[in-house]
């Protein structure tokens, strides 16, 4: 500090000598600022076609662009461990061919529209995302409808996709964060379909053109919670007519939601290791069942989680990075799937401080349960969430994602307009109760990916009286065990 003052003093002397600079202002206190200007959400047009397809349209004329998304309930929870990877292949291969276009033509057509097209899949939904210059919105919707409604899954493309999925699986197993998340989902969700996050060599081998076509017939239905979003520089009426034109004849089916066995939280604290010999760091991923977007205490917990580990200013970052220097980053997150949530804390620390970092994390979780956040922390957390929500709505893609989420997750249709006040109305008691209902360090599931030889003994001291189960990078138990570890919450 003394040296810093000296640097400044030397600089001032130079400035005075040069005589060019004005007098320093009084910087002793931060400026007093005015109130936040209100966020005025755009008009959201919601409608439904006779076949059940929901349409959401938002006009945004700032840029000559348009974004189109089509989502339906064809996520990974439609699968079993034996078919894991099929939904990913379905998404990847939607753009691999139609009766009138090859995969190369689809990619070139998207380029010619000044855009892109591609599908992704998460636990609940498969989403096709596309964009173009707004002057070319009609050919864009024609292209989107072609790949969503008429994919052909050519044999050569299926064979290549299977090979590439297998190679990607190999490559992913080099990534300690991937290993942690796959193992964590298995342990947290047990027999529930949310446990499936990664394929295996044998489930990839089971993918076939016929399986992809069957998946398409079963789930690509306008009444399978399907939704089309159009955001951009196009009149709402025109966008509606184009969706009607290209999706109006889409035939309905009889989809049922995926089976969703009830869940019980973990019973005790357990630490599971994934061995990565020679690893320079350990990935620590711990957590519990979290909250869905429709849970009554969703917003109170969002605020509590923000206090704990949602951003740079949160307790975990201030302690474990800025004080201890154990990590580059540590965050806590509630992942709200459609039917269950998963709440997690994740960090990557150097091998030698693995156990101290985990112990300190548990101490911070205990603090969240012991006392409500201070009024200052509460204010900070709510402002951060509200402000960054608005900051995050600057692009067409972001607006499209937000209005799509509202429909897919069954939220109130005015959620975009109420989100900020939903956060700002959370009080300290509600945040504290939500923290106590979700955060349970005494029964967390902990996965640590690292060099077992170095981390096992110190970690074992954090869970008295047990031997830590160890897995390899394919998720198979290794080491001499009396029995494979039992799922912490057996299926009902």
């Amino acid at each position: 500090m003394r040296s810093a003052v000296l640097v400044l003093a030397a600089g001032l002397a130079l400035a005075l000598a040069a005589g060019a600079q004005s007098a320093p202002p009084d910087l002793a206190k931060p400026p007093v600022i005015g109130p936040v200007q209100p966020y005025v959400p755009p008009a959201v047009h919601r409608d439904q076609l006779p076949n059940g397809l929901r349409i959401v349209i938002v006009e945004d004329h700032r840029f000559p662009l348009v974004t189109v998304e089509v989502a339906l309930r064809a996520g990974i929870t439609r699968l079993t461990p034996a078919t894991a990877g099929l939904a990913q292949a379905e998404a990847d291969l939607l753009t691999a061919g139609t009766p009138t276009r090859t995969s190369l033509q689809i990619a070139q057509d998207a380029d010619a529209l000044g855009g892109s097209i591609g599908a992704s899949v998460d636990s609940d939904f498969l989403t096709l995302s596309a964009s173009s210059l707004s002057a070319r919105v009609q050919p864009l919707l024609a292209l989107v409808a072609d790949v969503v409604l008429h994919p052909t899954f050519p044999d050569s493309e299926v064979a290549l996709e299977k090979n590439n999925l297998l190679q990607t699986l190999r490559a992913n197993r080099a990534d300690p964060n991937y290993l942690a998340s796959v193992q964590f989902a298995k342990l947290l969700f047990g027999a529930n379909p949310y446990a499936i996050t990664a394929p295996t060599a044998s489930s990839i081998a089971a993918i076939s053109r016929q399986a992809l076509l069957t998946f398409h017939q079963q789930y690509f239905l306008p009444n399978n919670q399907a939704e089309v979003v159009v955001v951009g520089d196009v009149a709402a009426a025109r966008a509606h007519n184009l969706v009607q034109q290209y999706f109006g004849d889409w035939r309905i089916g009889s989809p049922v939601p995926p089976p969703m066995p009830p869940m019980a939280p973990p019973a005790t604290r357990r630490i599971f290791l994934v061995d990565r010999p020679g690893s320079a760091q350990s990935v620590i991923l711990l957590g519990d069942i979290g909250l869905t977007r429709t849970a009554p205490d969703y917003f109170p917990f969002l605020v509590a989680n923000e206090v704990l580990g949602g951003s740079f200013n949160s307790r975990l970052m201030a302690d474990i990075r800025e004080q201890k220097g154990y990590t580059y980053g540590i965050y806590s997150t509630n992942q709200p799937y459609r039917d269950f949530g998963a709440w997690t804390v994740q960090t990557q620390v150097r091998t030698s401080v693995t156990a101290p970092a985990l112990a300190e994390t548990f101490a911070q979780l205990d603090r969240m349960r012991a006392a409500p956040p201070s009024s200052q922390e509460l204010l900070q957390a709510k402002n951060y969430l509200a402000g960054n929500f608005v900051l995050g709505l600057q692009t067409q893609d972001a607006v499209a994602d937000e209005v799509l989420t509202t429909g897919l997750y069954g939220l109130p249709s005015d959620r975009l307009a109420t989100w900020v006040s939903d956060v700002q109305s959370v009080d300290g008691d509600a945040a504290f109760q939500a923290a106590q209902s979700v955060i349970h360090p005494e029964r967390s599931i902990v996965v640590v990916v690292g060099d077992v030889k170095q981390i096992e003994a110190p970690l074992a001291r954090l869970v008295p009286g047990t031997v830590l189960p160890v897995f390899d990078d394919a998720g198979h138990p290794i080491g001499a065990y009396p029995a494979p570890p039992a799922p912490p919450h057996p299926p009902r």
């Binding site: 600022i33 209100p38 090979n163 990557q348 900051l391 692009t395």
Partner: protein, 460 residues
């Protein structure tokens, strides 16, 4: 509350010269610019669409300015800019920016260091105060420095030492450049980071974090008259400091192919990178190589994706462009490079991968590209250009980089026409001139056996 659209005009750009030419209305970023008496350059751009604003400070110092034995200093110093100033002690920066609903971060590059805050518009004066205080009165302590060295070392472990292909990506510059100033990694080495002293760090601050080495950009929802006064109030008084002589970054021209092979215990699939020394910025060759990079590497329609992933089925992933992997056309500076990286399947050889790449380059040299392919390339480039302007932060970054590297913020708007003027003949010329064997650098990353999982368990 009324919301005005912020783009007062559109520039119509014709993509092709034939009858099929289609004009694209490309929004122009409006701006005003001025220079403070202490030579700090300021760019303001008003946009009332959302009640948000971004402030950025771009300093003309990157890893290229570091001295041997002090690698990683520019990046370490980026971290220290968040560790407290005279009136906003440690924790105060994030406390105020996040507490008012904003977000912040920074990045260190080969040629510059970039800081930003995006906040609700009512908090703009707060971030001006914070930025002025840390520029004038940064409080660098030994304790903060040691804490951030530890944090940066964790960052290096995440990106390099504990990650597949970590050293492989660093090796692209280390093999292509012979001058240490250009070749060494931004993240630095553990040895150099641990050797840092408080005096070194303070000297770095004194030399480079001065108003005349900074471009301040503010984009978003504000009153430009009031904000100009506030900028003058907070920043005009900050004194300049003496500057050291610029480092020497010249490279001898390359006359023979170079290669390096790495053995990577973290990688499960082999990878190959190829790099060639690139041209000066803002020359006809620069625009042409940018477009050639897109033609070769960008997206599923690209020549190398089709050749390597789809047709020969050799690779699972292809990536590259002018400046890869550290830069792109917005921040490329010579001496720079054109590079690509391919993750390929076991069972193929590096020579097979390299030959497939060369074959595609030879096809372009011989045949050029069709008018249709060239028009698709330009249409996609234009729409991506527009997409990059959607956020206040994106626009602030483009204006700041154009001010630094092109001498005027208006190039953030004007440069697009140069890319769209590239012809098939230009692509052929730069392929023949730059992407030749004698100027190539090939880096191969081979999976190395790690100890089998579980062997460490021994007696259990």
């Amino acid at each position: 509350m009324s919301r005005r659209f912020f783009f007062p005009c559109m520039l119509l750009l014709a993509l092709a010269t034939g009858a099929a030419a289609q004009a694209i209305a490309v929004p122009q970023i409006p701006f005003t610019t001025f220079v403070l008496p202490n030579h700090m350059r300021v760019v303001l751009s008003v946009d009332h669409a959302l009640p948000v604003v971004s402030e950025t400070m771009l300093f003309h110092v990157g890893s290229r300015e570091e001295h041997p034995g002090r690698s990683g200093f520019a990046h370490l110093f980026e971290h220290l800019m968040f560790e407290g100033s005279a009136h906003a002690p440690k924790g105060g920066f994030s406390h105020l920016v996040e507490g008012y609903g904003g977000s912040f971060n920074a990045s260190t590059h080969v040629d510059y260091t970039f800081f930003y805050e995006s906040v609700p518009s009512n908090a703009l004066e707060t971030v001006m105060w914070l930025d002025a205080d840390r520029l004038a009165n940064l409080d660098v302590t030994a304790a903060n420095m040691h804490n951030q060295i530890a944090v940066v070392e964790e960052e290096r472990r995440i990106d390099v030492d504990n990650a597949a292909y970590g050293q492989f990506y660093l090796q692209i510059a280390e093999t292509t450049f012979q001058n240490w100033q250009n070749a060494h990694p931004v993240i630095g080495s553990f040895k150099d980071l641990n050797a840092a002293t408080l005096a070194d760090v303070q000297e770095f601050f004194r030399e480079y974090y001065a108003p005349d080495n900074c471009i301040l950009t503010i984009v978003g929802d504000f009153d430009p008259v009031k904000v100009r006064q506030q900028v003058e109030h907070y920043f005009a008084w900050i004194p300049n400091r003496s500057r050291i002589t610029p480092v020497k970054t010249t490279e001898a021209s390359q006359t023979a192919q170079r290669s390096a092979t790495l053995h990577d215990p973290q990688a499960k699939l082999p990878a190959l990178a190829i790099a060639w020394p690139g041209p000066e910025r803002n020359t006809p060759d620069f625009y042409a190589l940018t477009m050639l990079g897109r033609l070769l590497f960008s997206g599923q329609s690209s020549r190398l994706y089709q050749a390597l992933v789809k047709n020969s089925k050799v690779a699972v992933q292809v990536d590259g462009n002018l400046g890869f992997p550290n830069a792109d056309y917005t921040d490329y500076v010579a001496p720079g490079l054109m590079a690509g990286a391919v993750v390929y399947k076991p069972g193929f050889t590096p020579d097979q991968v390299e030959n497939l790449i060369k074959q595609q380059i030879h096809e372009i040299e011989a045949d050029g590209v069709s008018p249709d392919e060239l028009e698709r390339l330009k249409t996609k480039f234009s729409s991506d250009w527009i997409r990059g302007e959607q956020t206040t932060l994106g626009r602030a970054s483009l204006l700041a980089l154009a001010t630094l590297f092109d001498g005027k913020p208006g190039d953030a708007n004007a440069a697009l026409a140069q890319y769209l003027a590239v012809t098939s003949g230009d692509l052929q010329r730069v392929a023949r001139t730059y992407l030749v064997r004698a100027r190539s650098n090939v880096i191969v990353d081979l999976p190395a056996p790690a100890a089998p999982a579980g062997t460490a368990k021994g007696g259990r």
